[in-house]
Amino acid sequence: MGADVFEITVNFVKMVAIFLLMVQIVPLLVWVERRGSAYIQNRFGPNRVGPLGLTQLLADAVKFLTKEDFVPGRGYPFIYYAAPIVAMIPAALALNAIPLSSPVHVEAFEMLGQTWGPYVFLAQGYEFGIGVVFVLGVSSLAAYALLLAGYGSNNKYSMYGALRASAQTISYELAMGLSIVGVILLFNTFNFTEMIAQQAGPLVFSLFGHKVEALSFLPNWGIFYQPLGAIILFAAMFAEANRLPFDLPEAEGELVAGYHTEYSGFKFNMFFIGEYGHMFVASLLMVIFYFGGYTLPGVNPETVGKWFADFSPTKASLLTALVLHGVLMAKVVFFLWIFIWVRWTLPRFRYDQLMDLGWRTMLPWALANTILTAIFILIARHPWGS
């Protein structure tokens, strides 16, 4: 975690800040979702409370807090209360393993009569050597929150919702895991920072030992190597986050509200935090795998550092990190908007169609993507000359 008190404190504050970022994005996204759906459906949406209806969120929070704390009489109280808390953990852990910007280098400085530093602070809670595998493993634990909610409420609809939800998430996890194999083939690493570093600069690749520079006006993003994988991964992410058109677990026409039928107030809100956290992680993964992470198209990461050459090294590094974080968030916000856009555009699948799509369409296509990627990489990277 760190060598001295200052480093440990900063790292802990950083983790908490990333977690609170995830919690805070929920009301904002709910607002965007309401206004966006109103825009799509040619309505007004919430516009009475505050400018553009923004303070509606505060009113919602107060409403959530002052609702009665209800426990179903036949439920299992401990599991019933544990489920919403468990729902937040996987998304929080996954989000903290993803780099949100470039590392910040802090020069040695004096404080409280002692010399501290120099430090390097990563823009993520912790770095694992197995970045992608850790995120996948932690996300696969998300099914427990649904199962606990279904079981803890002891309600027929909740149980069926939990059953459908877990069957659906595990079915789409296959397509998701397979499309990530293509990404790992491309970058030859599990580490997110290395993936982003490989996507900096213009689109130049080697073919039969020759360098192809004809497309160098494009950035070197993964989407140009993995278009099919990107589509499959993004579609599977919708199912993983239980969003429309894959929100069968909460199909209100059939199951009332699915696994959170018996939940209200802040407990219900915590499931929302988990769901939007998954959306956030999904958008981040899309950006890092296929859209260059925090790199700016046409600009080298070193160039960004030179913009702030007039400042002291610590400040320059901090400003660079902030700019790159802004770039990353702009890309992420675009994908979050696609999540919302799709939700208000497409109708819901039927359950058999959903399982069919996952097992008999997306899994074979993801397999084809893996094999094609392997063949192309074999041809392109084989040392032909030597």
Binding site: G137, L141, M159
Partner: protein, 173 residues
């Protein structure tokens, strides 16, 4: 160093506690949930030992897939008849005796070789242990790897064949 020791021993304590509760919990669902926690703890132990990729696999396969199946089956299928059949009678009595014997065997065999465990382990593996694992798996252990693919196919066929059998406890469907 002190923090690492505290972290390791608290992890070990919780791991053993969860494993103990897995066996002693009366409600099968609580038992399965404790087993999930044990699996997650095991992943942490693997990571601590330097087997980073195995830790990830432990999370994805055991905690994320196998235990989801267990918990799903226990929570959502009416297994009262099966529970009764496996908690009383001659069959389960035999099972208890056999598992007690196995535990005793492991205990004695383990206590015999436990002195070797106390030796200082070899130097910590280098950072890129996942890559070394991959290279070993597809060169030295290639045949085992291909045989595993065939074995998984056999299991997949078996699952479908078994689930087609009408009768037994699922006859009412």
């Amino acid at each position: 160093m002190l923090w690492e020791a505290i972290g390791f021993y608290s992890l070990a304590f919780f791991l053993i506690f969860f494993a103990y509760k897995t066996i002693t919990a009366i409600n099968p669902i609580h038992s399965a949930l404790y087993l999930v926690l044990t699996m997650i703890g095991l992943a942490a132990v693997f990571y601590d030992l330097g087997a980073h990729f195995i830790a990830g696999v432990q999370l994805i396969v055991y905690a994320g897939a196998v235990m989801v199946l267990f918990v799903m089956v226990l929570m959502l299928f009416d297994l009262r008849a099966e529970l009764r059949a496996f908690s009383r009678g001659l069959f389960s009595g035999m099972l208890k005796i056999i598992s007690a014997g196995l535990l005793a065997g492991i205990f004695f065999a383990g206590s015999d070789s436990s002195i070797a465990i106390l030796d200082t382990p070899a130097a910590a593996p280098s950072a890129d242990v996942s890559r070394q694992l991959g290279i070993l798996l597809y060169t030295k252990y290639l045949y085992a790897f291909e045989a595993l693919g065939v074995l998984l196919l056999v299991v997949a066929v078996g699952v479908v064949a078994v689930s087609r059998i009408k009768g037994g406890t699922h006859a009412r469907h």
